[in-house]
């Protein structure tokens, strides 16, 4: 790492502090929007609670009162925010369990899946991106570019079922392979999730490489005698790195949405499944908790990515 002339660390600190304040505001906005949007668009949550049709109108009203849903919306909102600040996100309407518990017990599985998916995406995406960017119009380069395009275009639901189908078919030929199809096995879900993100990452790296390969500083480097091999590639690759890193950070947040489908297809527990079932069931407190969690992950990964990028590319430090 090259050290830069003026004092970068204090500037960096200011940048990060500004981002943190913005992040906190983002969280508050997310909580507020989620709170009102859910109630205004999805209606009365007791409708879903009582979807069996057995209750009379009076009984339905009694349940609303018992759950505190008869209070004015603003009063409910103030109580919710006050609780959230203390770390109390309320209780599930269906099970009366604390939302924090409900979310915590599903996070481990999603974290494992997202991490494995991110690693898969980083490996495949970098490979494809470098091949496509470096290979240019050669057959290899075009093939890599096409693969990246396919990986982006095909929805996770389709990739997942196809991968599961292929594994089931392969397992019919060679039974030991069946272990891959078991719910606890992470290989196929990670592959499904990783492939989807790798395409977009490959594009980012490819275009970064192509731009840099055309740039004047690379021409200068070549003029200085830096050969065409790996050294030149590193010269071109390094400036492409920050955008790849911020992209990966963005992708971490997007991976969470990818897990929704992946978890469903591979019958895995996790936050994605929890989100879908809670939305469909109208379990507002759980949905709000998940929105808050997603917003937290999103803002914190961005802050982190900005910091890391600043280290990877000294130009960004000066640009502040």
């Amino acid at each position: 790492m090259v050290s830069s002339p003026d004092r970068p660390s204090s500037r960096l600190r200011i940048v990060v502090a500004r981002r943190v304040v913005l992040g906190a505001l983002t969280l508050w906005a997310a909580v507020t929007i989620a709170f009102f949007a859910l109630r205004l668009t999805a209606g009365d949550p007791t409708a879903s609670l009582l979807s069996q049709g057995l209750a009379t109108a009076q009984q339905a009203e009694a349940l609303r009162r018992a759950l505190g849903l008869d209070r004015p919306l603003v009063a409910q909102y103030v109580a919710y925010v006050a609780g959230a600040v203390r770390g109390d996100l309320g209780r599930s309407l269906y099970t009366q369990r604390p939302v924090t518990t409900v979310i915590a017990e599903q996070s481990g599985s999603t974290l494992r899946l997202a991490t494995a998916g991110l690693v898969t995406a980083a490996v495949f995406g970098t490979m494809l991106g470098v091949l496509a960017g470096w290979g240019g119009t050669s057959l290899l380069g075009r093939a890599a570019g096409a693969l990246a395009g396919i990986a982006t275009a095909v929805p996770v639901a389709v990739t997942g079922v196809v991968i599961l189908w292929v594994a089931t078919w392969a397992g019919g030929l060679s039974p030991p392979l069946l272990v891959l199809t078991r719910g606890s096995n992470l290989t196929l879900p990670a592959l499904t999730l990783g492939l989807a993100s790798s395409g977009a990452l490959a594009r980012v790296i490819q275009s970064g490489l192509e731009d840099n390969l055309r740039s004047t500083y690379l021409l200068a480097a070549r003029a200085r005698g830096v050969g065409h091999g790996l050294r030149l590639m590193w010269h071109a690759f390094r400036p492409a790195l920050p955008s790849a890193i911020s992209f990966l950070a963005l992708e971490t947040a997007l991976l969470l949405s990818g897990t929704v489908v992946t978890e469903t297809v591979f019958a895995r527990p996790g936050l994605g499944r929890l989100l879908v079932s809670s939305i469909l069931a109208g379990d507002f407190p759980v949905v709000q908790g998940l929105v808050l969690l997603a917003a937290t992950i999103y803002t914190s990964t961005h802050i982190l990515a900005d910091a890391v990028s600043a280290f990877a590319d000294p130009r960004l430090r000066a640009a502040g």
Partner: protein
């Protein structure tokens, strides 16, 4: 290398010897696939039908139902008396029953369970309503329970046969409380609750002490050691889970997959009828043009329901001809809905003043014959709605379909009122399942019907001391009125397509339809 090889061959020999001595044994663990993640799994408090698939074998109920006829049979209660005014039920309980935690079952436990269910702080979503006009319960002696109602409620025995009113250990209820009890459930049934990891799995283990099977079971004690329930929410992956051996039993298999698996060696298809209302659309009788009964009747006639059912549900579902499914004791075949007849439909529309213009669209004056269908995402309603759209556009209507994801949004579409048809049906073993939808003052009167005679029939059948024969007559009359006013467009009797691998044998279901008698499962010929 050498040692390892020797050890391996020793294991082989040992294994072979052991296998020769022991009788052939099947899998001691089977996997049962569930098709949705229940929102909560306490039968006393939650409403999901899915929860009963495992838990109806963890709990015993006071009475059970004959799987074929729905007749009430003894279980934890060996006999019972109903007072002539229909407001007092006295149950005489079986002796020698113990909970999985070792405590002994007696009448006070039944009282404690009922009180837990109706406690307003526990927010019961289903069981409390199944108790109807429940007032209180008492245990005059350890073998007798008396339930007092504020008014007669003939569906009560049916309710008491459901897992939602299964008997839990009051000690466990008290120890854990409503939030944690679901993870530590204790009953008296043939299977013990082991663990539940939401969205992942639920495990049951055989109760070796079980010696009080219901009269509807074949086995006295369960034969399969362990049953693991996993959740296959995505319909596209269910057949795969059976094929790759991850699951042994799975329900709600899409019709095409079900037919394909049935043709494969190693799998059997069990179409299981589910009692309650058929897959159906309710007509909104307050909104033009469906406020005209002749228009509603014409619209029913314009739909080839037989072809629609075959297209969407395959060969397995019967075409629905009544507001109650044909496997219920209260079903009456006296009032089939109008058969497919486009010509009569068009003639009826003409007679009602809706004539076709040059553009092929029917109008009455300047008003266009336009229909708006609201459909939920589940139960293949959207696919059916598409066929309705085609059938009605063919006779000159303009049709719009709105799909509502989730019950909250369906309810919201209902509250806006801008629909002519809305898809909704309830499952249930007692014909009182009709009242929430067709009694004028009830929450799910989404057709907006207001027929004092229909109200009277439904009220009388469920809130007065009447015999089952009389109830049957009342429901037949109600069905006739629902048909004559064309309040619904019935599509098909709900059938759960269950596929079971030959690793498992003995699968059969209760009258309720969704719930298997796990006690009778045994390793099948395909197990190794």
């Amino acid at each position: 290398m050498k040692t390892r090889l020797r050890r391996a061959s020793l294991t082989l020999v040992l294994g072979a010897t052991l296998a020769a001595c022991a009788p052939p044994r099947g899998p001691t663990t089977i996997t049962y696939g569930l098709t949705l993640s229940p929102t909560g799994i306490d039968p006393h408090l939650n409403a999901s039908a899915e929860l009963g698939i495992p838990l109806s074998s963890v709990y015993d109920t006071l009475v059970v139902q004959d799987p074929a006829t729905g007749e009430i049979l003894p279980h934890l209660a060996q006999s019972w008396d109903v007072s002539p005014d229909g407001r007092t039920y006295t149950f005489h309980l079986r002796d020698g029953v113990t909970f999985h935690d070792g405590t002994t079952f007696d009448a006070a436990d039944v009282v404690a369970n009922l009180e837990y269910t109706v406690d307003p702080d526990n927010h019961s979503q289903k069981a409390i309503f199944m108790l109807g006009p429940f007032e209180h319960a008492e245990a005059p002696d350890p073998r007798t329970v008396v339930i007092h109602l504020s008014e007669p409620f003939p569906p009560l025995l049916d309710s008491l046969a459901q897992v939602y009113l299964g008997i839990a250990s009051p000690e466990a209820l008290q120890t854990w409380g409503p939030a944690e009890y679901p993870f530590h459930q204790v009953g008296t049934g043939p299977y013990r609750f082991v663990e539940y990891v939401p969205n992942d799995h639920l495990t049951l283990e055989r109760n070796p002490d079980y010696a009080w099977p219901p009269p509807i079971a074949v086995n006295r004690t369960a034969a399969v050691e362990r049953i693991v329930f996993r959740f296959y929410v995505d319909p596209a992956t269910r057949a795969l889970a059976l094929e790759n051996g991850e699951a042994d039993i799975l329900g709600e298999i899409p019709p095409l997959d079900a037919a394909r698996l049935d043709a494969l060696p190693g799998f059997t298809l069990l179409p299981v009828p589910i009692p309650g209302q058929p897959t159906q659309f309710l007509f909104n009788v307050e909104r033009a043009p469906t406020d005209d009964p002749n228009v509603r009747r014409a619209l029913i006639q314009a739909v080839d329901r037989r072809a629609a059912v075959r297209t969407v549900f395959g060969e397995f579902s019967p075409v629905a001809e009544a507001p109650l499914s044909s496997n219920m004791w209260a079903f009456s075949d006296a009032a089939p809905f109008p058969a497919f007849d486009v010509r009569s439909a068009e003639a009826a529309l003409e007679a009602a003043g809706w004539s076709t213009g040059d553009d092929g669209v029917r109008r009455k004056g300047s008003e266009v014959l336009s229909l708006r269908i609201v459909t939920p995402t589940w139960g293949s309603h959207p696919e059916v709605a598409q066929l309705l759209e085609a059938a009605w556009e063919a006779i000159g209507a303009q049709v719009e379909v709105e799909v509502a994801a989730g019950f909250g949004l369906l309810r919201e579409a209902r509250d806006r009122g801008e629909y002519h048809l809305i898809g909704l049906n309830f499952f249930g073993t007692d014909p009182d399942v009709l009242r929430p939808m067709f009694a004028s003052d009830r929450l799910y009167n989404w057709s907006n019907v207001s027929d004092p005679e229909l109200d009277r029939l439904l009220e009388r059948a469920a809130t007065t001391a009447v015999s089952q024969d009389e109830r049957k007559r009342l429901y037949a009359e109600a069905a006739l009125r629902i048909r004559d006013q064309s309040l619904i467009l019935p599509i098909r009797d709900y059938v759960n397509l269950v596929v079971v691998s030959d690793r498992v044998d003995g699968l059969h279901f209760t009258y309720q339809g969704w719930f298997p008698l796990l006690i009778d499962l045994r390793p099948g010929s395909g197990s190794s």
